[in-house]
């Protein structure tokens, strides 16, 4: 089919218009979701809402225990997943030979990242809660979330490590450095912003997850804050699920307020990650 150049330009203009329309609508839609939650939830936000316990079957009061709980779970996940993920990333980027075993590790990481979050929940229930008898607890939930977060942290950290120029490693070795000295003194510091970005993005996902913690550590309602790692805890995402589906007569404002707090928590982490990334780019000397 031969088209004249005029027709070809017409096709191009139509195609471009369609693409830009779809893309713009997608982006506008996302912005609208955020704006919608912010505008509907802003009215609920008050000192009391953030800093007090819920009462009256959670229909009044604040969501402090859910905020604290999500904070604990995120910290717990970080404490477990960051060292392990970073170690694995260092292995893949700095030590691993290019062989069958390394390929198996990579396949395992890809598969971990694809496993549905609810299956992690089942696994956490089977292994941590029941088999290891940790009970539904912050510890069990953090471990479950940590394994789920691991592939994100490993892949982003490995990518960050690999962007450090090979010549730095060669020079360091040529000056009498050992492999670990080279990693510790040059590779890690240079890759750190990229690693941090990846870590935060991984934790952001963990903070927003519900399914993995439903049977491993999240509680419907607790009258007091958790005091130890073996306590169950309330958590923002699970709380939002509970009050939007399980509690009849729930004031809509509290639902939106909870959604907003969760959104701020998660997008705040996203924002921090972006700031670290753009700062590091500006400062980078290579």
């Amino acid at each position: 089919m031969k088209l004249s150049s005029k027709q070809r330009m017409l096709v191009q203009n139509l195609a471009f218009a369609a693409m830009s329309l779809i893309a713009s609508l997608t982006v506008i839609f996302i912005v609208l979701i955020v704006v919608y939650i912010v505008s509907m939830g802003a009215g609920a936000i008050s000192f009391e809402f953030i800093f007090s316990m819920p009462y009256d079957g959670m229909r009044s009061g604040g969501i402090l225990p859910a905020i604290i709980g999500t904070f604990y779970l995120t910290l717990g996940t970080a404490a477990l997943a960051v060292p392990l993920g970073l170690g694995a990333a260092i292995f893949l980027s700095e030590y691993a030979p290019d062989n069958q075993m390394t390929r198996i590790i990579r396949i395992a990481i890809t598969n971990l990242s694809g496993i549905p979050s609810v299956v992690y929940g089942l696994f956490g229930l089977g292994l941590f809660v029941l088999f290891l008898q940790l009970g539904t607890s912050i510890l069990a939930a953090s471990m479950t979330l940590a394994i789920m977060t691991l592939p994100v942290i490993i892949s982003t950290a490995e990518e960050a490590l690999r962007t450090v120029p090979q010549s730095f490693r060669v020079v360091s070795i040529s000056l009498g450095g050992t492999r670990w000295q080279t990693i510790r003194k040059i590779v890690l510091p240079e890759a750190m912003p990229g690693i941090l970005t990846g870590v935060i993005l991984g934790l952001e996902r963990a903070a927003g997850e519900t399914a993995p913690i439903m049977f491993t550590g999240a509680a419907f309602f607790l009258p007091q804050l958790p005091t130890s790692l073996t306590d169950a805890t309330m958590a923002l995402p699970y709380h939002l699920f509970v009050i939007s589906t399980q509690v009849p007569g729930m004031p809509i404002q509290i639902q939106f307020g909870t959604a907003l707090v969760l959104l701020v928590f998660v997008l705040g982490m996203n924002l921090i990650a972006s700031i670290i990334r753009s700062r590091a780019r500006a400062k980078r000397q290579w």
Partner: protein
């Protein structure tokens, strides 16, 4: 006296292609030896075998020895970190580490665990002096090294390789990216340095080889074709392949 003796040395890539074939070469102390020839001849590979930097690459030594002061550096039990402190190296592209000028220099001490402040301070000045860079940077040692010009960066790399007072310095086309003035500065430094060090250099051109070589070795496709006193080799090569290369017929 021979500082480095290479005996019957062969090396191949992991896929089996040969890189260096039965090299025999004696590198005298306190002289500037150049390894020259067309690209892919194995010069850099040989250079990197002397400080075992090839351990990082996909190569395998198939036979032979490289003796440094009579010790075979290819020995599996050898402490390679110690070897690399004794054999400094400068690369084709100036690779300054993402640190200050000072830390670029003291990084080697840091790796070796040497913390003697007086020694370090003195070594910084000495090595920068040897690389003809002291006057230009003495007032801004704490600036990032990347702020230096390309020529300055390369001289910093030279100073960095000198700071732990190695016995041998290996230079792999150290002036390939530099302007003529910087090149001259580096070459002049090297003429001074050979009083204290044994220098092995892969030049980036025949002209440079002819200019600076005390001893010259011509490499072609993994073989050492001819070795001779610098001036003589470039005016009266004995092998026709050497002559053709020097006259610019290939490479």
């Amino acid at each position: 006296m021979d500082k480095i003796v290479i005996e019957n040395f062969s090396l191949e890539y992991s896929d089996g292609t040969e890189s260096l074939r039965e090299i025999n070469l004696r590198i005298p102390a306190n002289q500037l030896t150049v390894l020259f020839g067309p690209a892919g001849g194995g010069k850099s590979t040989l250079l990197r075998s002397i400080n075992r930097l090839n351990d990082l690459a996909d190569v395998k030594v198939t036979q032979g020895k490289i003796l440094l002061d009579g010790v075979n550096v290819l020995d599996k039990k050898l402490d390679t970190n110690n070897l690399r402190r004794k054999v400094g190296m400068v690369f084709a592209r100036p690779v300054v580490l993402p640190f200050s000028i000072r830390r670029n220099l003291t990084y080697g001490f840091e790796l070796a665990g040497i913390r003697d402040a007086a020694l370090i301070e003195e070594s910084v000045e000495r090595s920068l002096g040897q690389a003809a860079l002291w006057e230009e940077v003495k007032d801004r040692l704490d600036d990032p090294a990347t702020a230096l010009s390309g020529g300055q960066q390369q001289r910093l790399c030279l100073a960095r390789s000198l700071i732990q007072q190695p016995d041998v310095i290996l230079l792999d086309e150290p002036t390939s990216g530099l302007d003529p003035i910087s090149t001259l500065k580096v070459e002049n430094s090297l003429q001074e340095l050979k009083k204290d060090y044994t220098i092995v250099l892969v030049p980036h051109s025949v002209q440079q080889a002819a200019r600076i070589a005390d001893l010259a070795a011509f490499f072609l496709q993994g073989e050492l074709i001819e070795v001779g006193i610098g001036a003589e080799l470039f005016t009266k090569p004995t092998k026709s392949r050497t002559q053709r290369y020097i006259e610019g017929r290939y490479g």
